[in-house]
Symmetry: C2
Subunit: 650 residues, 2 copies
């Protein structure tokens, strides 16, 4: 599709990767339980009634909010899009005719709903006829279409059925005819980015350049002056200053994207936009997008990212506030935002392997995103705080159910994020037992078989499969956290420094079937400290091991977790506990805690007595799976020293 000869890494399609190990059972849970739950709850909410033109137009089910400009019911198509996508991945995992029939039923309703001219949006067609394309700022038309595109592409890959793919391609042809810079078109774009990255997937699936061009148009037009959303508001007879969120930073349309250098506004929108920008840069070879993307990446990862890979601290805008503002208990850190950061990071790998992107992708995946799904696949987090007094719990559904299908589709497609394929090259971004069949160009397939207990162990064996010997570069991510990693090929040690390119070991050689690569990443339990500008974490320490960030829970440590403190020098032990949370490596350490036997005293001249205790930490992703209780990621980093040396206090 591109005229340039740029190096271009793409993720393999989900069916190219068979996943076992850590992620295998998680995908099974999504396939066995979560997908069904998503369908059931969505349909129970009335979503299909809104789509199906054969049933009467339903009453409004969900009230308006934000000055009556938005009801979450406007986004129902996106829920179906994500559910179809999740279900498609599940079907690849295991055939399920009943599930396939449910999808076909929804697809059929959409096919019947689609307008003569290709337009498709159940809210506008059924609930607000005549109002289409009048409020791109608030009403998510293109966002909905984008998610349906993603569902269509995944379903096509999983089943070969192209009804929805054709519907969505026709819909995008209508969009091409409606939106754009040409005379007679509206120079609009969506208030909620998403369709950009979806269009790139559609272009890849169909081979049609025009969908890539439409994505590039949406990226390029965004934030130009005069702001489209202001113009559009005036046409509606509204004053642009009455916009609920006050600033177009909310939707990252305050400036042309190439002039943006701070992550602002709604976090999910930001991540989806940057994902689309990165996709467009990869596919078109437009290098003018690279520098803005690097600036935004530095701003996010250097100033605005939770240690869990969560992001967007504020509930008010579901997004960013000021630099280094990372409150723990009130963290919004929407599951969707961490999922979307995985999307962005994976797309930043499009220009080639780089562990800056791979490491953050892994951190967001294993922590901020995965926390959003309960171990049994039936309950969800919307917000992901880094501490709780015991009043934050997983729910079974939400008035705005964007997160459940988002984390479900990510888990179900995780194999696709683990690899990159390019002309004469392949990359392993994530380690996980399984088998990938990668297209390395020229009709060649490179099979990579991973054997590993990752993330519980840092030892990975990769065995190569090839029909014939081939000169290929295989790049393996060496995470920045790896402690003295070692690498060998067919038992012969490789000098990592000599082959290291952007944090990946790049093994460019003639490969044969049966070649074996042994990698040991050197995984140790370690402490993490936050930049002192993060005032909420001052004097505090977090624990991690490999890609996993840990937390303490009251169920293991008793209440009053803020009383716990960990000396900077205590040994952190690790142990795999099969019966704990589905089998995890738990961390433990000697610690101290405040003795809370103060009776009726609220304040005293002397500090609390300290008593020794044993601390146990579990992976953050697994918290709140054992009943209510306090949780904390950031522990106090020291004990008051007065008690240690026995000197007088005050």
């Amino acid at each position: 599709m591109s005229d340039t000869a740029a190096r271009r890494f793409r993720p393999p399609a989900v069916p190219q990767v068979e996943v076992r190990g850590f992620w295998g059972p998680r995908i099974d849970v999504v396939a066995d339980r979560t997908v069904g739950i998503l369908f059931d709850r969505c349909i129970a909410a009335g979503t299909l009634d809104q789509v199906d033109p054969a049933v009467p137009v339903p009453d409004l089910r969900i009230p308006f909010q934000h000055g009556n400009s938005v009801t979450t019911q406007m986004f129902w198509d996106s829920d179906f899009g994500k559910i179809i996508e999740t279900a498609a991945y599940a079907l690849h995992r295991r055939r399920d005719p009943a599930l396939e029939r449910r999808i076909d039923e929804v697809v059929d309703a959409y096919a019947r709903l689609q307008a003569e001219d290709g337009y498709l949006d159940s809210w506008f067609q059924r609930m607000r006829p005549g109002e289409r394309w009048t409020n791109l700022r608030d009403c998510h038309e293109l966002y909905n279409m984008g998610h349906l595109i993603e569902g269509a592409v995944a379903y096509f890959h999983a089943t070969g059925k192209r009804t929805l793919l054709d519907v969505m391609a026709r819909c995008m042809d209508h969009v091409i005819a409606t939106l754009g810079r040409e005379p007679g078109k509206k120079p609009g774009y969506c208030g909620h980015p998403e369709v950009e990255l979806a269009l790139v997937r559609l272009a890849r699936a169909t081979g049609e350049r025009r969908y890539l061009d439409l994505a590039a148009y949406f990226v390029d037009e965004r934030g130009r002056s005069p702001n489209y959303f202001d113009v559009e508001a005036e046409v509606r007879g509204e004053r642009s200053e009455d916009f609920w969120f006050k600033t177009h930073e909310y939707s990252q349309s305050h400036l042309p994207v190439r002039e943006q250098d701070r992550v602002v506004g709604h976090a999910v929108r930001a991540m989806y936009l940057y994902s689309g920008m990165a996709d467009v840069a990869t596919e078109t070879g437009d290098t003018t997008l690279v520098e803005p993307l690097e600036r935004l990446w530095a701003d996010l990862t250097g100033k605005n990212l939770y240690v869990t890979g969560g992001l967007g601290p504020s509930q008010a805008n579901e997004g960013f506030t000021v630099d280094y503002d990372l409150p723990n208990e009130s963290a919004y850190a929407e599951t969707c935002a961490a999922v979307a950061l995985v999307f962005w990071a994976s797309r930043m790998l499009g220009r080639g392997p780089d562990n800056r992107f791979g490491d953050v992708m892994e951190r967001a995946l294993y922590n901020g995103a995965l926390a959003g799904l309960s171990l049994d696949g039936t309950k969800f987090f919307y917000e992901n705080p880094l501490s709780s007094r015991g009043d934050h719990h997983r729910w079974t559904w939400h008035r705005c159910p964007c997160c459940p299908p988002n984390i479900a589709r990510l888990v179900a497609s995780v194999g696709s994020y683990a690899y990159g394929e390019a002309e004469g090259e392949a990359a392993v971004h994530l380690y996980c037992a399984g088998t990938a069949d990668l297209d390395v160009g020229g009709g060649r397939r490179l099979r990579v078989v991973q054997e590993t207990d990752y993330p519980w162990s840092g030892a990975v064996r990769l065995t190569v499969g090839l029909d014939a010997e081939a000169d290929l570069a295989l790049s393996l991510r060496i995470p920045a956290w790896a402690e003295g990693p070692t690498l060998s090929v067919n038992g012969e040690a490789v000098d990592l420094a000599a082959v290291s390119v952007a944090g990946y070991a790049r093994l460019a050689r003639r490969w044969s079937a049966g070649d074996v690569v042994d990698l040991d990443l050197g995984m140790r339990a370690k402490r993490l400290y936050a930049n002192p500008k993060v005032r909420q974490d001052a004097g505090r320490v977090a624990l991690r091991r490999g890609p996993l960030v840990y937390c303490v829970e009251a169920v293991d440590n008793g209440p009053l977790l803020d009383g716990l403190s960990l000396s900077p020098t205590t040994e952190i032990r690790h142990e795999f506990v099969a019966g704990l949370l589905g089998g995890v490596v738990a961390l433990s350490a000697a610690a101290e805690t405040d003795a809370a036997d103060w009776g009726g005293d609220l304040y005293r001249d002397a500090p609390p007595d300290r008593r020794p205790t044993a601390l146990q930490a579990v992976p953050y992703y697994a918290w709140d799976n054992r009943g209510p209780g306090e949780m904390a990621v950031w522990l106090r980093a020291c004990a008051p020293d007065a008690k240690r040396d026995g000197t007088a206090r005050s």
Copy 2:
């Protein structure tokens, strides 16, 4: 007024006490600047237009909130009541004919507004005629009347003018005829307690027992079943479950007051109610109120009180949440609530001196309450957080201007809180240079002259004045924080332990004019630690000296105050700095701070480098008087010890 012979301490009227020292200039600022500001801003808001029947009925100025049940405009009479009260105290301080004319103008408007039958409430008479006594839960009629009573009593004491006093007495006679348990009356009471304590003041000023009985009725009837507010809501055609605040805990009417044992709901309402309960207990000798008051006192001071004497952590209900929930940055801790705690504590002294009450009164007065008024008397805090990232500032006015006149009237009448007078007894609750003329019964006046630099020094000399020798008990508060206090009478040491009664030195002897008492409280800068159940203060330390709680501000210490830490053993130095914040004792200490030179790193394996620094703390009441910046009361209590002993970090 009472039939009992119970020991009963009352505060002297403001004109009985001449205040110099710390409080003198503060009262002058209120008299010279704040009172005028209060009048100007209130009248500019349209308040007098609502009162004066000679002007046309104005339009609604302030929108409704809370499901359209409340506009702050309903409370405008209370603003006038508090302003008149403040102005009355100011007039005692210095005659000001222009100010007196302003008051007379408002009083005249109220006199003309008062209904034939005595009813008086400008909102209902002018804005909602015909609706009086239909919504005691939300509409503050009795609250407004209570504040006007307090203004009337103060103005009568200051000037001898009794127009407003007579108006309010007649208004209360109307209330007596309207509300009560007798047939034909409504068994109501106010959603916002206040009138109870005001009625006790009215009873004392007029000598009329019926006003005390009305106060006792309001106390006794509150929270009985069926709940009056539910009955009333049904009469209005509303469902009681639609009440915005969901629970009658909000107004402490969820249970009869004698069954209450937890401080709940709106903090100011709670404090006013308990104040009224204590007043009624003192004046009627009703000992059945004592135990509930003690339970509530223990619950507040043992579990729910900020170290500043602030209270009510939550903005949502302007009140209490769960025990030990004392967040610092998001603390609501309304100025009015700390002021009202001073009221309650002072009234708990009605049954006799007890430093449990006197100490808390002093703490709330000097910290949580006084912080609400800028040093120049022109700007105000509504919320009083215990830490700020630099975005919390004093404002010049507020849509709900309850706090400015509340702190102003407290400051202007502080002399009244410093003493208690009883039959044959007197007590000194607060130390401050000045002269008090106390009524100790039998026509005797006891003059107490205090010479002291308190709160900067703990040394106090008291000189007695009497017309004739008298056997009297003079009780002097010995704060629990005093370090090795000493006491002498006419140069002769007194064994404090021998004369100590409930934390007061009770000097029962024959007193003569010219007797001199020298008291040294032993004032030292000290550390305070919070109960480990207060998770927000775990591992943290606060500084205080005498009654003052200190804070650090960025203007003295630079930004990133969370980086500061104070070892438990470092010496805390104190020094009076005349040029600082109008003259304060500042505290200083060697401390450490995080070196914030992390460049683009957000997280690292090693803790921040620590560097030595000097910490300066200033009294909390004086913060945010030198421009915007961070502030913190609770400092990190130690430095990471890894940096100290130079050992490796994990």
